[in-house]
Subunit: 331 residues, 2 copies
DNA sequence: ATGAAAGCGCTAACAC
DNA sequence: GTGTTAGCGCTTTCAT
């Protein structure tokens, strides 16, 4: 692989001149000389070494993305959104999977710092501890988080409370009063917010909050299935279920059908996320649409602003939308 | 951010010594000195600059992954598999999305070369042209492809022909003779292979190959829905449909139900891929399981072998598996 | 407009 | 066992 030196020799100029034509704009260079250099570049198939350049410029044009798991649809969409704007701006992204493991998270941050990333986008898992925070400190002005984290970085969030309220109010309007909730981990702020929205909607309509209607899955269809089975075999079972995400909603529908209940006639089910398959489910699933890809693109735009030294909003809240399909048709 | 020089000063040693304790193994260093250095490292929160190290060592511990689209489940799983083994081996991955656009592919390769990646894993889209091939040339011994590409790099593949044969033979055993196929682009070797498997199964059972049973979708549920509608409104409609992937199979089931056909009683449907949701579909979808994550991990293992200068297999074929669920129960 | 040379932060000969 | 020094390939003053 040829280096700047080779090109300089070939074009009979100094390496400084080569650098100037390879990075146009900052300095003038004689058009003829430039042409000679460009010819040499082409002949030698020269490509500047980004490592060397980054070392010198203290700018790697690389950003780090820390997520729990890329094979999870939600994060894949986010990363897709990040990629889209990163590409256009000339940034590359280094991916770090953490499985939400605090040690992994800390390790990832250190690793990205070693690789001299220009910034970090963090999503999923928690970042509140002393370790991750102090590790992130050195990049303080170049970090954006997706989701609520109670830390002092610009945050891109989904209005989960409003979304959940939307879902449950929809169910209430349909005439349901006993509404089951399949939530998940108490450690997740997202889960907590969706639960809050559920409670809000009940309170606004003066319905009691009944603990026996609440259970916890783990975001998988399997867990939705299991929890729905439990919920539906109680006496005085709910006539509607609000599942914390579409995956669990699918599991819940499946459980209902297996138990001889019809959806939506005997049980209404609504999910959260609006994954692509939800409209092709049988019955098509009502849900709350979350603009995942936008979360990603917005976070990258924010990071770019941060890197440019701009003032950026402390919080950006993205709206959700109620999508009514067959799984919650009239009671 | 502190540099090796700061640590050296703090510990009252030379930078060479610091380097030696930071990268243990190669050289001996007095335990006491080492301890002093480690203390200084900790106090200054020193982290070696990976860029500088990579520049010197000509090894970045970073590999490039080129795929069409990370928000596609298939590629997300592959990348997940790659990540898993990359992490353990100390590699980071830089992601490049191409949308299968040849220009983007070439650009991605150049970009990764500039970033001095230690290797590249390529999946999806085509790589046969002169441009991408010559761009890849400089990394010749450090490239592995996933899927069939008729190029001289180690390839990790799925036995799509055998898988499709499996699917169609299953349908034939069930008594179906008119079996529709929803395929996709003729440019895709995967699509071609799955079509070949379909033809093989028919031939082995002396069934005719009827062009009117073949149509092309685009891997989305929408397209599966549309194509199934066409197939099912022909007179002498098929009694079974083999869809090129699960997404299209979902669409096909949906179309059938909309047309008043029962699945599997009036129409059997089988997909391909075995995405997680397929077992929670209503009815649960029969399909051919593809070990996507394994494809990723295997490709990374192969690349690591390549980097280590080992001899690696030219081709590794991964087996598929027939998963029978309700969507193809007896005719 | 162009070249010489310093230096980005690190590793690895090579001396001692 | 430890220090000195020469690069890795590039960008960027500073001269000219």
């Amino acid at each position: 692989m040829s280096k700047i030196h080779d090109v300089a020799k070939r074009a009979n100029v100094s390496i400084a001149t080569v650098s100037r034509v390879v990075n146009p704009g900052r300095h003038k260079v004689n058009p003829e000389t430039a042409e000679k250099v460009r010819a040499a570049v082409k002949e030698l198939n020269y490509r500047p070494n980004a490592l060397a350049r980054a070392l010198q410029m203290k700018k790697s044009m690389t950003i780090g993305v820390i997520i729990p798991d890329i094979s999870n649809h939600y994060y894949a969409e986010i990363v897709g959104g990040i990629q889209g704007v990163a590409d256009k701006a000339g940034y590359n992204i280094i991916l770090q999977n953490t499985d939400r493991d605090p040690d992994q998270i800390v390790k990832s941050i250190y690793l990205l710092r070693e690789k001299i990333v220009d910034g970090i986008i963090f999503s999923g898992g928690t970042i509140n501890g002393y370790e991750p925070l102090s590790a992130l400190k050195e990049l303080r002005d170049r970090v954006v988080v997706i989701g609520r984290h109670d830390v002092d970085f610009p945050a891109i969030m989904v209005d989960n409370i409003a979304g959940a309220t939307l879902a449950v109010e929809h169910l209430i309007e349909l005439g349901h009063s006993r509404i089951g909730l399949i939530g998940w981990s108490e450690n997740s702020t997202t889960a907590k917010d969706r639960l809050s929205g559920y409670k809000n909607a009940l309170a606004q309509n003066s319905y009691p909050y009944d603990q026996s209607l609440i259970c916890q899955g783990s975001l998988t269809p399997e867990s939705g299935y299991n929890q729905a089975k439990i919920l539906l075999s109680r006496e005085n079972r709910p006539s509607a279920i609000f599942a914390g995400n579409d995956q669990m909603a699918f599991g819940a529908v499946y459980a209902a059908i297996e138990m001889g209940l019809r959806v939506p006639e005997d049980l209404a089910v609504i999910g959260f996320d609006n994954i692509p398959l939800s409209s092709f489910f049988v019955p098509p699933l009502s849900t709350i649409a979350v603009p995942m890809s936008e979360l990603g693109s917005d976070s990258m735009e924010t990071l770019i602003g941060l890197i440019a030294g701009e003032q950026v909003a402390r919080i950006k809240l993205h709206k959700t939308k109620l999508i009514v399909r067959k799984s919650t048709l009239s009671k």
